[in-house]
Amino acid sequence: MTELDARLRAVRDHAREAAEDLRARALSIDAEPHAMEQHLDSPAFAMIRESALPEEYRSASPAPALAGGDDPAGRGSCLESMVGVLELFRGDVGALLACPSPALAGVFVALLGDEEQKKRFYERVRTGRTWAFFAMTEPGRGSDATAMETRLERDGQGGWLLHGTKRYIGNGARGGIGVVFARTGPSPLHIRAALVELPASGWRAEPLDMVGLRGAALSEIRLDGVPVPGGMLLGEHLPATRRGIWGAVQTFNNMRMQVAAAAVGTAQAMAEYIARHRPGTPGTRRAVARAEAARSLVYEAAARIDRNPDRGYLSSAAKLGATRMAVETAHWAAAALGPAGLLDHPLLEKWTRDVCAFEFMDGTGNIQRLHVARGYQSGDADGR
């Protein structure tokens, strides 16, 4: 069990204040995820964005780290990040993901970007008016990144042209800058990431109308010869083995923890909601205890990533367990409200839809099962 020291408790308490602001905006964002103007000056959004920016791009005094988790951007540990972000997810996961911020693309740019690329990226997102996208997933390939079909073709003048289709990309249709993965050749080492700044010719993006987690604004992107200047391939200054796929794996390790934290935060929110609106409901203490155990596992997995970023066994176990727990809690909570409770409690109804998304983010449950089994067979379960 990971104990929180005074600094981590301060991070948690700071995030709790912002979580209330996110909660207040949750239903509005779910109903109209593309009508964001009224939310952009939210104090919580400002805090989230500032926390995810490297210090030199912040416009306010440094806030405790809430996003990311690797050191290149100077944002503290993965554990610190999880402690903060879990509290924000407890406010509302959809509202948090609707915030214009560096988000996942920021983690990747921090790892693989050179100084010029970082400057272009962070100058755009620091305004709080620009969303960032991280375009990896493709329609027919799901979690199998190595089977990616999107291509980077040379334009004959030192640059590249992007061709292909990406799907389920957060902020894809409203983003201003972000990372797009594509291959320059047949091997996994040919998978590269380009920093793409919009508007750009050949870029067509449309929002997908999703069942839940609508604040994430998942989108489909069609790339028809989108120009990428030669200097905008990320990781060019790094060894070939530390470019596309390596950076993606590191970034997804981070994302997997965030999804687990989102599942825990949402489950805690649902259990607390039932305790407040239906006190004495059978199963409440069990739901609270299960969410608390999953929170503890997320902290433990985050602490382990801080010690060894390349070992993802426990983060996969945390994502698998937390996601299942959150869906079970949603089913219990919906029943606990009594007949038509979901109609009369729209916030809880929204959360029962949102929790389903966690299954599909950063690898389905089956992908996590394979990771967990592989880790177990490698002895990773013996280290606790």
């Binding site: 069942v211 219990w332 009594g338 007949p339």
Partner: protein
């Protein structure tokens, strides 16, 4: 009752959620205790889920974006609602039959989807984890159908039936991956059928699953 349950399941499987719900509620409304008042009179809570085409004229209605697309509306049921009536138990079993029909309908579609989609040059349906999930789902369908048919009116047993159907629907929805999470996808019926069951069942005392 057995015939009515089979008919509701078959209709839902062949024609979809609204048609299955219509078949179930038509059977329910034949109960003598509901004479002339319509199936909504048996609703255990303040709202009844109905096919939009059967909405009484002038009724106060609540809508839901996903339910709208399944042509389902929620009609207000004012006044005190009696608890634990035989009609409510029958409604719970009929709605369970509809949910089983929707599970079968979407499972058929999921298996087709998984047969076309490949990973490592092999159809996903041949992957052991996927095959196992499909087997678990259909075995649970067989079990829950018998559960609905046994005619046990005990509220805890009926709550358990629907709690397990909530999970069963989710197991099917997962087979579609993220594509089943798009609001225009047929898997939407699984989410809406859970909403319909939430309206038509009282599970407050049986909600101990979490």
């Amino acid at each position: 009752m057995t015939t009515l349950l089979h008919r509701a399941e078959r209709t839902a499987r062949q024609e979809g959620l609204a048609a299955g719900l219509a078949a179930a509620l038509s059977a329910l409304s034949e109960r003598p205790a509901l004479s002339g008042r319509g199936a909504a009179a048996a609703a255990p809570g303040p709202w009844a889920a109905l096919p939009a085409r059967d909405m009484p004229p002038g009724a106060r209605v609540r809508t839901h974006p996903l339910a709208d697309r399944e042509e389902i509306v929620f009609v207000a049921c004012p006044g005190p609602r009696p608890a634990g009536t035989p009609e409510q138990a029958e409604a719970a079993r009929l709605i369970a039959a509809v949910r089983l029909g929707i599970v079968r309908r979407l499972l058929d579609e999921a298996v087709e989807h998984l047969s076309e989609r490949t990973a490592g040059d092999e159809p996903l349906i041949r992957k052991q984890l996927i095959t196992g999930a499909v087997a678990d789902i259909i075995a649970e369908v067989e079990l829950l159908r018998e559960h609905a048919l046994t005619g046990d009116d005990d509220p805890e047993a009926l709550a358990d039936l629907h709690n397990r159907l909530d999970d069963l629907g989710w197991q099917v929805a997962k087979l579609f991956g993220a594509s089943g999470y798009i609001a225009d996808h047929p898997a939407r019926a699984l989410y809406v059928s859970a909403l319909v069951a939430n309206v038509w069942t009282d599970r407050q005392q049986g909600g101990q699953a979490a």
